[in-house]
């Protein structure tokens, strides 16, 4: 019994080992992981924010801004906030910097606070910030500061001070914009446009024309200079300005119309008609196009081509009539679907049969209308706001989708967790460990008995026991062959077997002490291991009893965020509806104003045509009378001669 139990010892140990492996492999996946997110190294966290900031992705720059802040990071964050339109938050940071920052940070803060005041229309307050002492501002920022400073003075009608600041500016976009504004301001107050034209010429000279926005400014400057020159009756100068406006500019139609005006003012009607014919190729909504339609018949009339003039008036009447109806369609579409979806999505406007099938404009009349609408500053702001709200909606929708995916994933993980717990079947594992423990106890008792009885074979090594078994086999074989061999041979072999048995027993008794110690040691280790496994299993059971804590915590967080996102989306939808309503109302106001303009043009064309018909009729009548008089005179003179 003892021998059997002890000979099974390694197999028992294997079972315990396998159980241990199971526990050690399985347990970590159920355990509450103690790992925590490592914070990014400070320079990487800062670099990630700067990457977004310098790309112009201000929203991402704010999101990526590190928790730990330095003065420079505060400036960068404030800049991102301000660019994203969170001016109040940005203002708080600048306020803090202007009192506690270094000289450089203070300078930037003064400038930014001034800019914020300027954008609120508080010109004097803005100037207070702008005029504070500044040092170490970058070249670009200094130019921008001068631009705002000069503009604030222009708004306060202090033109001399504005001009003095502009004198400090060097070539570039800011200088060009500033001189343009000064030129326009002069044109509004001066009866004589020389000062305004000079400013515009300087604006043009300082324009480096390197980017698209500067090219547009150049066109605008040249058009304004041309307009003012016409007012000053300096037509050649006007033509020299207008000739420089790019043909693919948004202002090309207006420039061509003004070009015609400059020519017609010098009674060069043919040249004027040529310019105005080119204007006709642009969408009617573009500046100057409607005026050109009215100007062409006027010029034909002046040239004495009455029939051409009549047909041109008829064409103008038809065009204005059609465009008024188009505006009605647009207004109806805007009223039905809202301005946002009408102009930014697919709408009824796409199906309007526009009169300009041969338009040289690279864009569609829908875009022409969009551009016209966007030229209204209030609408521009509303449209910008609409795009920002659409961006927020897109962002929230994306998170809503992602959170739904995470929610589902966590749900599956939690359910998977319980399934794995079921499969783990800890009670059967505990039973097996208890069996092993019982076996170990029995072995201990057997060992104690063996020790008392000095049973050397109980603790003998496997090799010794195998040898003893072989000796017994030999003895059995000898008994079987006893009758086949001589008694002498039998006795001899029996003696030899006895000696072998004695040898094996001697070996067992020799190793008894050592083997006893080894077995006792092994049983102690087994006891310890069994105890450890029992504790491990208890801990494991304790953990699974708590459930998937981390997964549950994640799920809870995800669900909470999902609720917040849904609530925020609803809030956003309300604001978007209000915003779309405001945008729609403003668009309709602008379109109705344009319609009134077209109706007025239509009436003007009709009146002029009526006058022209009347004039032509009168001329024809007088011609007829003159012819009749002449024939009468001829007849009378013939009669007299006879």
């Amino acid at each position: 019994m003892i021998r059997h139990s002890l000979s099974n010892f390694p197999r028992n140990l294997l079972v315990v080992g396998v159980t241990f492996l199971f526990l050690t492999v399985l347990m970590p996946s159920f355990c509450i992981a103690k790992e925590r997110q490592e914070p990014l190294p400070a320079h990487i966290a800062k670099g990630l924010m700067l990457f977004e900031l310098y790309k112009g992705d201000y929203f991402d720059a704010i999101i990526r801004s590190p928790d730990t802040t330095t003065e420079q990071l505060t400036l960068d964050l404030a800049h991102s906030l301000s660019e994203f339109g969170l001016n109040d938050q940005a203002g708080q940071f600048y306020d803090q910097l202007q009192s506690t920052g270094t000289a450089e940070s203070k300078s930037i803060a003064y400038f930014q606070l001034g800019k914020a005041a300027y954008n609120r229309g508080e010109w004097t307050k803005a100037l207070d910030w702008f005029n504070k002492p500044k040092s170490q501002l970058s070249k670009d920022m200094l130019s921008e500061l001068h631009y705002y400073q000069a503009n604030a003075y222009i708004k306060l009608k202090q033109y001399t001070k504005a001009a003095a600041i502009l004198g400090k500016m060097k070539e570039g976009a800011w200088a060009s914009y500033a001189y343009y504004n000064l030129g326009i301001a002069y044109s509004e107050i001066d009866s004589e446009p020389t000062r305004a034209i000079i400013s515009l010429r300087v604006a043009d000279a300082l324009n480096t024309n390197k980017v698209a926005s500067l090219a547009e400014l150049k066109d605008q400057t040249l058009l304004a200079a041309g307009y003012l020159s016409i007012q000053a009756e300096d037509y050649e100068k006007a033509l020299s300005f207008l000739n420089q406006v790019r043909v693919d500019s948004d202002l090309a139609s207006k420039a061509l119309y003004m070009h015609g005006v400059a020519n017609s003012s010098q009674e060069r009607y043919r040249a004027a008609i040529q310019s105005w014919y080119r204007v006709k190729k642009y969408p009617l909504i573009n500046p100057g196009v409607a005026d050109a339609f009215l100007a062409i018949p006027f010029a034909y009339d002046k040239e004495g081509y009455s029939s051409k003039s009549i047909s041109s008036y008829l064409e103008a009447i038809s065009v204005f009539d059609k465009e008024s109806r188009n505006i009605d369609i647009i207004i109806a579409a805007v009223l039905k679907n809202g301005a946002r979806s009408t102009f930014f999505g697919k709408s009824a406007l796409d199906d309007i049969e526009w009169f300009l099938s041969d338009s040289i404009a690279t864009n569609t009349p829908k875009v022409a209308y969009l551009k016209y609408i966007m030229s209204d500053s209030q609408l521009h702001q509303l449209a910008k706001q609409s795009i920002e709200l659409a961006f927020l909606d897109e962002n929230l929708s994306l998170w809503e989708h992602n959170l739904s995916v995470y929610d589902e994933m966590l749900k599956q993980r939690i359910s998977g967790y319980y399934q794995r717990i079921k499969k783990a079947d800890t009670s059967s594992r505990a039973k097996r460990i208890n069996n092993i423990s019982n076996e170990a106890s029995k072995l201990k008792i057997s060992l104690a008995t063996a020790e008392q009885t000095q049973d050397v074979l109980s603790v003998a090594a496997g090799r010794t026991l195998r040898r003893l078994e072989s000796v017994k086999e030999l003895d059995k074989t000898l008994l079987k062959i006893k009758k086949d061999i001589s008694p002498r041979e039998f006795d001899d072999l029996k003696q030899r077997i006895k000696r072998l048995d004695g040898l094996v027993m001697w070996e067992a008794s020799e190793q008894y002490e050592r083997n006893l110690r080894l077995t006792q040691e092994t049983l102690r280790v087994l006891d310890k291991e069994v105890e450890r496994y029992k504790k491990g299993l208890e801990k494991f059971e304790g953990l699974i009893a708590k459930g998937p804590v981390k997964l549950e915590s994640f799920k809870k967080r995800v669900s909470n965020f999902k609720k917040k996102i849904i609530a925020k989306k609803q809030e956003l939808n309300v604001v978007r509806k209000q915003q779309d309503k405001a945008l729609t109302e403003q668009v309709i106001t602008v379109l109705q104003a344009k319609k009134i303009e077209f109706v007025a043009h239509h009436e003007t064309a009709q009146q002029r045509l009526a006058h022209l018909y009347e004039y032509v009729a009168m001329v024809q009548h007088s011609n007829k009378q003159r012819a009749a008089n002449r024939s009468k005179q001829k007849k009378a003179s013939r009669g007299g001669a006879k």
């Binding site: 790992e35 990487i44 990630l48 920002e388 965020f561 809030e571």
Partner: protein, 196 residues
Amino acid sequence: MRLQHDLKQKKYNILFTTLKGTLGNISTKLLLILITTLTISFSVGQVSAEQSIQASAHKLKSDVVDLNRALFKLEEELLYPADTQVALFLSLKTKSKFLLDSIEIKIDGKIATTYLYSEAEIKALEQGGIQRLYMGNISSGPHKLTAVFNGQGANDHYFRKEKSFNFEKSNRSKFIEVSLSDSQKIEPEFKFTEWH
């Protein structure tokens, strides 16, 4: 400006003429006061509505920013736990001596990400920005990171350079910075720095 002013003038003239015809007996002064009052009240209403939208939009923006910050943290914790998290970053320390065109990143021979740079992104990197090239999960133990850089070096020399880096992933987050800097040679220098 002027055109708009003319337009407004025309509008008021038409409106005024129509009203004058209809309400012939009402004195012009009274009519003007009525129009002015109506216009002001309409404008005030419109302005306050716009201000309310502006305030709501501002609050929403601020809330969305806060939500995004919290959500990015949650997403990172959920999808990239520290014991498997690996993130690669790219920094550029150069003075326009070379132009990075694209980059390919492989982890243990498998493509993790490829990126084609725009001019704005290169400028942002040159100004001190750092790009997060990749974030993913790997097992603990030894790994091999391979980065292939394509670009234009000094003297319009086109380069395609492959660099490898062996690293050991522990149970902590692994951050690796790949930095490109100017060198005396035609091609830039590439350096890998491990964090954690």
